[in-house]
């Protein structure tokens, strides 16, 4: 009989490969958003950059909670709403920027936790 270890539990979990792929994409999304915010301290976020942030948040919001990352999913939804409500041309230093930074922190926490596991 095969002992029940975290490794073979993961093998039996049909969501494990999806979670792995999701976390891989999460790292890319984090880097992409980070790069946008780095430029000009987030003050010069244009329409295209704004759409990129919304797109990454949207993708994350749709799946995070289903894979067990509830907080990440909630923050992703908040980021999507905040940037959707922020008019193009807004300097982006308001609530949208603040929630985006929290979202990035949560991504880093999730990725760190995954590395440790």
């Amino acid at each position: 009989m095969t002992p029940l270890t975290p490794e073979n539990q993961a093998q039996d979990d049909p969501l494990a490969p999806i979670r792995r792929s999701f976390l891989g994409h999460l790292g890319d999304r984090c880097l992409a958003i980070d790069a946008i915010l780095e430029r000009d301290g987030g003050r010069g976020i244009g329409r295209e950059e704004r759409e990129v942030i919304i797109h990454h948040a949207h993708r994350t919001a749709g799946l995070a909670a289903s894979l067990g990352f509830e907080t990440l999913g909630r923050l992703a939804s908040a980021v999507e709403s905040a940037w959707t409500r922020t008019p193009p041309g807004d300097d982006g230093t308001g609530p949208a920027l603040e929630v985006t930074l929290r979202f990035l922190d949560e991504i880093e926490r999730v990725l760190d936790e995954d590395l440790v596991a």
Partner: protein, 312 residues
């Protein structure tokens, strides 16, 4: 049930396939874009029984894709379920108006997905049974009325029309907070039974489509949905402020109906007469089932038959 799922997020598609499999739906085809979805539909040897669409996709979004699929004759009645994070009223309204049958919001709740797809599966089975009955009925089916008196009648080309099942799902999707701002009104064709008996099911269905157009026109310029409940009864769903009082609304609809008088007279068809039931507003007792709003509007309209007759 053969399902096609279209989403530009491959991770979500993979998750959906696993979840559907766990719920017992193993025959799932995945497409990563609207154009791939259309290709899979075009080349399917056996038609899909149900289609699940994401809303936000590049090139062609899910709502446009939904309308495109709906315009295909063989997918006129196939359940189309939207699965999306877009939970605002505008997206929900546009999806249902494009022909969506139901609307699931991401992240998907497994219990809700099971329940909603269970109802869709039941609908698919009923459609298959009905199609089988029609195909195997022999010559008698041709001499019978095209539509029984209580049958549903497709109102595909009527502006604002959706089927009853989709209307119930629309209210459920809207949620209680937004449903509170809406009212449902039942509209009854008082001489419907007579028209059905005299003219037969084929003409009856044409007359009901005309009434539906009159109903839709009488509320043009407002955001409204209407549906046919069978038996000459319609339901209109609109914001509270958009619906006039019953007498005024009835008179307005009948004015539109009267425009058909000359044509109907030439054809020897009885002109429909319409009464309007009271506007039903959302109440606490309907919290768990917003669709009761629609059911009550239908019941109240049928009660008024012969009582508040407003004729053209």
């Amino acid at each position: 049930m053969k399902i096609l799922a279209v989403d530009d997020d491959r991770d979500f598609l993979a998750y959906l396939a696993v979840t559907l499999g766990e719920l017992g739906y193993k025959n799932v085809t995945l497409a990563n874009s609207a154009s791939e979805g259309i290709r899979k539909i075009d080349f399917a040897v056996v038609d899909f029984d149900c289609i699940i669409l994401d809303v936000q996709m590049p090139d062609m979004d899910g709502i446009e894709l939904c309308a495109r699929i709906r315009s295909m004759r063989k997918y006129r009645d196939t359940p189309i379920v939207m699965a999306t994070t877009m939970a605002d009223r505008d997206h929900i309204d546009r999806a249902f108006m494009a022909g969506a049958t139901d609307y699931l919001t991401k992240p998907l709740d497994k219990v809700e997905t099971r329940a909603r797809l269970g109802v869709v599966h039941q609908l698919v089975r009923e459609q298959l049974r009905a199609n089988f009955a029609v195909a195997n009925a022999g010559r008698d089916i041709r001499s019978a009325p095209a539509h029984g008196f209580m049958d549903s009648i497709p109102l595909k080309k009527v502006d604002g029309a959706i089927d009853m099942f989709a209307m119930s799902n629309y209210l459920t999707t809207m949620g209680i907070f937004r449903a509170v701002s809406m009212s449902a009104v039942g509209v009854q064709v008082t001489n419907a039974q007579r028209i059905h008996e005299i003219e037969g099911g084929g003409v009856f269905s044409e007359v009901m489509v005309d009434v539906a157009n009159c109903l839709s026109d009488s509320l043009s310029g407002t955001r409204r949905m209407l549906s046919y409940a069978g038996g000459g009864t319609f339901v209109v769903l609109a914001s509270r402020s958009a619906i006039p009082n019953a007498a005024e609304f009835g008179a307005r609809i009948n004015r539109y109906v009267s425009e058909f008088e000359a044509v109907y007279s030439d054809l020897g068809i009885t002109l429909p007469e319409v009464t309007v039931g009271p506007a039903i507003h959302f109440r606490v007792s309907q919290l768990r089932a917003p669709r009761r709003l629609v059911e009550e509007a239908v019941a109240r309209a049928r009660e008024t038959t012969g009582q508040v007759a407003v004729t053209a």
